[in-house]
C-alpha cells in the first residue's frame, strides 16, 4: 500500500491522445502531440512540416519551434506533478542546441519535473529525432504554480 498522495492527472497517465492539446490553439496550429504522460514526466512530438523550417537550404526546423515543443512539454509535466491542478506559467526557459535536428524527421521531447515547491516547479527536458540517447537539444526551466486565478486548462483531461 502506497501512502503517496494521488496526482491530479493520474487517471489519464499512459499513452497520449489527440484531445490533450485541443485546449491550446497554438499547439493545434503547430501540430504538437502528446505521446505519453506519467508521474512527473511528459513526452511530446512535433511532426516535421516544411512550414516550420528555419533554414530553407538545410531544411532544418527553426530553433523557436523546438523551444515551443520543450516549453509546452515542460508545462505539461508540471501539470503531471500536481496533486491539485492550478494555472502554470513559464518563469524562464533555457534551450541548448547540441546539434542541428535532422531534416524531415518528427521531433520528440521528454520533460521531467525534478523539484516541486508550493509556488515553483523546476523542469529539465531532452529533445531527439532518432534516438533518445542522442539528443539534439536540452532544456531547463522554472515554472510558476498558481500563476493566475483562471485555473488549469488541463482540468479538461479529467472532466
Amino acid at each position: 500500500m502506497s501512502d503517496e498522495p494521488k496526482l491530479a492527472l493520474e487517471p489519464v497517465f499512459g499513452p497520449g491522445y489527440e484531445a490533450m492539446t485541443h485546449h491550446t490553439p497554438h499547439a493545434v496550429y503547430l501540430g504538437l502531440k502528446v505521446v505519453e504522460t506519467g508521474p512527473l514526466f511528459a513526452v511530446m512530438m512535433l511532426p516535421y512540416r516544411p512550414e516550420i523550417v528555419g533554414d530553407p537550404v538545410r531544411k532544418v526546423v527553426f530553433g523557436g519551434a523546438i523551444t515551443t515543443l520543450l516549453d509546452h512539454a515542460s508545462g505539461l509535466c508540471v501539470a503531471c506533478s500536481l496533486q491539485v491542478l492550478e494555472a502554470i506559467a513559464t518563469i524562464d526557459l533555457r534551450v541548448d542546441y547540441l546539434r542541428a535536428a535532422e531534416p524531415g524527421r518528427d521531433l520528440y521531447a521528454r520533460t521531467e519535473c525534478f523539484r516541486l515547491t508550493r509556488t515553483a516547479a523546476f523542469v529539465r527536458g531532452l529533445a531527439w529525432d532518432k534516438d533518445p540517447s542522442d539528443p539534439f537539444a536540452t532544456s531547463i526551466g522554472a515554472f510558476m504554480i498558481g500563476a493566475n486565478p483562471g485555473g488549469s486548462p488541463f482540468n479538461r483531461f479529467t472532466a
Binding site: 515551443t68 533555457r94 542546441y97
Partner: protein, 126 residues
C-alpha cells in the same frame, strides 16, 4: 531584413513582420488566434514568445553583422508578464560580436515599451 524574413518559412508561419522606425528595426508579431497558449486569459503561448525573441535575435545578427546564417548555441528567455491579445514588438541588440561567438540581447513588449513581456539572451556560432 524583409528579404531574409521572407526566406524563413517559420517566420511566415508565425506571421512575423519587420518594421523600420528611423534607425531602429523592430520585429512585429500581430495577434491571431493561432498563437494563443492559454485561451482563458487569453495569453500568447510562451513558446511563441520565445520563438519570436529567437527569430528577432537571429534576424538582427544575420542582416547586420555577418554574411551567412548564424547557428544557435543556446537561448534563454525570461517571461516577465502575461502577453495579452494584442500586437507584440521585439528589438534585438548585438551585445558582443566576437570572432566565433555572438551574444544578442532581445526584448519584447506590447503597448508600453517600458513594460516588457519577455526578454531573451541568444548565443550564436558565426
Amino acid at each position: 531584413m524583409n528579404l531574409v524574413l521572407e526566406a524563413i518559412p517559420y517566420a511566415r508561419f508565425l506571421g512575423v513582420e519587420v518594421e523600420q522606425r528611423g534607425e531602429r528595426w523592430l520585429c512585429v508579431l500581430p495577434f491571431r488566434q493561432e498563437i494563443i497558449g492559454n485561451p482563458r486569459l487569453p495569453a500568447i503561448h510562451g513558446g511563441v514568445l520565445g520563438a519570436f525573441l529567437e527569430l528577432t535575435a537571429f534576424l538582427r545578427l544575420y542582416a547586420e553583422a555577418i554574411d551567412r546564417p548564424p547557428k544557435p548555441i543556446n537561448f534563454t528567455a525570461d517571461y516577465l508578464r502575461s502577453a495579452g491579445p494584442q500586437t507584440t514588438y521585439a528589438e534585438a541588440n548585438i551585445f558582443k560580436l566576437g570572432r566565433r561567438i555572438a551574444t544578442v540581447h532581445v526584448v519584447a513588449w506590447q503597448d508600453d515599451p517600458t513594460k516588457p513581456v519577455a526578454s531573451g539572451n541568444a548565443k550564436f556560432r558565426l
